[in-house]
């Protein structure tokens, strides 16, 4: 009897261990742009606002992305993407990127607060910024590696829960940056702690 009971508990424990992890451990994906579709020399939905901006083949002739050079800047509208606030560890920009040395890539995301400001009572617009700093040995012609950049307020305040409506990207430096496979994601990955 004791053996049967122990066996039952063992089966229950094994079942719970196997089935008790209903979540993925990755970052929750909120928005994705593969930059594949072509509309007038740029990825569909994008507009060049300054400098040299072009849609180019990235790591394969079937894979396209965006190349910024000589003060290049581009922007696109977003379909109202809800971004988590600081109490949920905020949001990130995740992308494949290769930049020349001394050239940074900067993203700015226009958002509106989900909760009205306590003083003004309005859902004020804000701009979140994510910046990829250059690293020694970087080359825009090398493999594109995955970077995850935290979206922050330039004031340093905690990021409130918000809704993103537009995204801008530009380079800061003398070289070239190429990027591909752009995601906006929550910064807190789910863990399997029950």
């Amino acid at each position: 009897m004791v053996t049967r009971l122990a066996l039952t508990w063992l089966v229950v424990a094994a079942t719970l261990t196997a089935a008790g992890c209903p979540c993925d451990s990755g970052l929750p994906d909120l928005f994705y742009d593969g930059l594949q579709a072509r509309c007038g020399g740029l990825p569909c939905g994008w507009t060049a606002t300054a400098g040299d901006v072009a849609q180019v083949e990235t790591f394969h002739s079937g894979e396209r992305g965006l190349r910024l050079a000589v003060g290049g800047a581009a922007e696109r509208d977003l379909p109202e993407v809800s971004l988590p606030g600081a109490f949920e560890q905020g949001a990130v920009v995740s992308l494949l990127v290769a930049c020349d040395a001394q050239t940074a890539l900067v993203f700015e995301v226009d958002v509106t607060r989900d909760v009205p400001d306590q003083t003004s009572g309005e859902r004020t617009p804000l701009t979140l910024v994510a910046r990829r700093e250059p690293t020694p040995g970087d080359s825009a012609g090398g493999p594109l590696l995955r970077s995850v950049l935290v979206l922050e307020l330039s004031s340093g305040e905690d990021v409130p829960p918000s809704t993103a409506t537009a995204l801008r990207v530009f380079i800061d430096g003398p070289g070239v940056c190429t990027f591909d496979e752009l995601h906006l994601a929550g910064a807190r990955s789910f863990t399997c702690q029950g």
Partner: protein, 271 residues
Amino acid sequence: MHRTLLVAGALALVTATATAAPPPEPASDAPEAATEPATPPEGADAASAEQAPPAADPGVSAPPAGEEASPPAAQDPGLDARPWALIISGGFQFNLMESSPLGRQLLGAGYGADAIGPSFAVLVQRYVLDWLVVGGGLDLRYGATDTADNGAFSGSLAPTQTSELWRVAASAYVQPTLCLEYGSCKRAGVFFGFQLGVAAGPTWWVLRDQADLGFHVRLEAALLWEVGADDVILGFRLAHALVWQSGMGPRDLGTPFLWLPATEIRLGYRW
């Protein structure tokens, strides 16, 4: 997987060495002639012919005096009579490793970098010595990896993509072969071989239905176990290859020489 194949190969080598019987009968162009009685001198009778010294025929030896001559050997097709073989081979191989610019790029883009896939080869080989085979042919190797298991995002919004590597190569090899059953390998037997080969040919890297073309070179060492019976061969091959891949695509992504293992089953017809 690499380590498992290496250990398996080492164990097999030890096994083969431990169980190997003496080598097959030495190569000879005229084994039957060596056992034929010497031709008696003209005019001598049969009795004197038995005691006569062997005929002075260079390259042909006769039994020592006083030893009874054995009858001619039975007609044995043997390996000497069937030196050629057509081999069809199929199995699995590692196609790519992450420790390369190409592998790192695929990994960074969310693909698995260790692509395992099927291989297929058609080969023709020939015994040039009793213990040595030379051969060559064409082989096709395929490997695919996709982004379905990309763990970077929970509920990724990106559609699943597949990256494929197709490699076609012309190959040549030499293969010292040891008979593991002494005295029976002429007609049927178990063979153990060590193969050294080289292959080269084009590579197609396919992604989003577009192909980038490259070139690869493969240096390969393999252990073989074969069972042969008359005109049929069935074998198993365990190989480890050094594969170099030229740069492909807009970023010239290739691989230096990487160790990639392979296992294959071989079926052959010899004539």
